[in-house]
Amino acid sequence: MVRVKNRYLTVNYLYTGQSRASNKNDATFPELLQFHQPTPDDFTAGKLVRAIRDGVLELFGDYGLGMVNTGLKVTYHSTATSTSIIRCPQAHYEMVWAALTFMTKLPKPNDAPVVVRVVRVSGTIKKAEEEVIRRARDLILRAKMAEAGRAEAGLVTNMLTAVDTSAHKEREREKQVLVDVDMDSAEENESESD
């Protein structure tokens, strides 16, 4: 089979929450939300690709960059939820993953300290997207539980149901498309991390 196989890495950006929380906000701003802050908007997909390329070049040299460069692409990038899906060649996904692990801050001019965490590795983009949705929903649920008993709980429940219905709609749409794609992707295998 002369098929180019890819791996899709679902990636979260976690922040230290230092600059945000001043001392008086300690009790009110839960740490969970501090860690999962939204990313600053000037961190675009293009900057991310460049950052990964620099990382791979630094760790694995020209050989690594050559191997990885052709298949490297950012398929999904959301600064609001601090999540990305990155496509890379199947044989060398570990290199890209290592480069992400070694990243300590966002590229210039931002320079914010960040911890990059790979949440799932999958062979199909569908599973990667499902993971993104699932994570967002779980995060809202946990934030809601962490703030249980406060006035915002009502607001959070609304957010939760909104994500639920949108995810449901998306799944319905996908089911219609899925039947066609399934034959081709039947042989693609998935590997799960976590």
Binding site: L14, T16, L32, F35, M95, A98, V115, R117, V118
Partner: protein, 304 residues
Amino acid sequence: MFYDLNVPWSDNSRELQRTIAFLDELGYDTVALAHTLTGRLPADLLIWPPQTPPIPSPLPFPTSRRLRILRRCNISLTDAATNHRIPQLQKHYDIVAARPTDEKTLAQACTNLDVDLISLDLTQRFEKHFKFPMLGAAITRGVKIELCYSQALLSSDPNAKRNLIGNATQLIRVSRGRGLVFSSEAKSVLGIRAPSDVINLASVWGLGHERGKDGLTKEPRAVVEFARLKRTSFKGVVDVIYGGEKAVEEKETGKKATNAQKRKAASMESTPVSLSEQEKPASKRQQKRNKKAQEESEKEKADE
């Protein structure tokens, strides 16, 4: 169960609390807060702050129920001849680790010292390559080798990263994948990576996925359990589960309390079946004898 056995203790409790909350967020279950000691140890070890972690007030986080915190002490071995007073340290800390700085101290730590872990500063270049017999001796004794990954991640010195990768690769090759423990030595939140990320790094350096996962779960668990057994039981065989209550009631009866509770393990309350009275249940032989005696006395009565 993911373990991170090396989180340096810092006096900045806000930072430390954030670090621990981050570890919890990433999925770690047991964390050991570490103190580093160098040189001669003072005679009195009780003056330190390391007693503070069990006290919840400086570290308030809601998931403390899930996260288990241990106390650890790193001894920096600079001179092979100093007395390290390990038994005393063992009383105060859950884990005691050695950090050798050169050949001799490494050999001493591997073969002689009664530590739970050997931790190497992997950002330094070692003159000689690691040898298998030395590390093998440590592993068969039950002492694991620890790789700390966060210094190279964060340091600005380009050599730190290269040394870490070189040393880590060597260690993985020499130890053949067994007896390795991964831990961050993260002074701040930035140095911590999720378990999967660490396993992937290990895989890039030559350790398979299974062994990598072991390095975060099975091996540290062995260290923690072994250390616990060393401290609380006799060679891992005999353990006092419940030593009996202190002799408060005995004072009222006027008896001398000392003799009554002289041997804790031998006291009656330590038997697993709880007895409401202080009598020992009659042994089966005794019961048989009693029964027989009773029957005979009844027989005699009937005969009369």
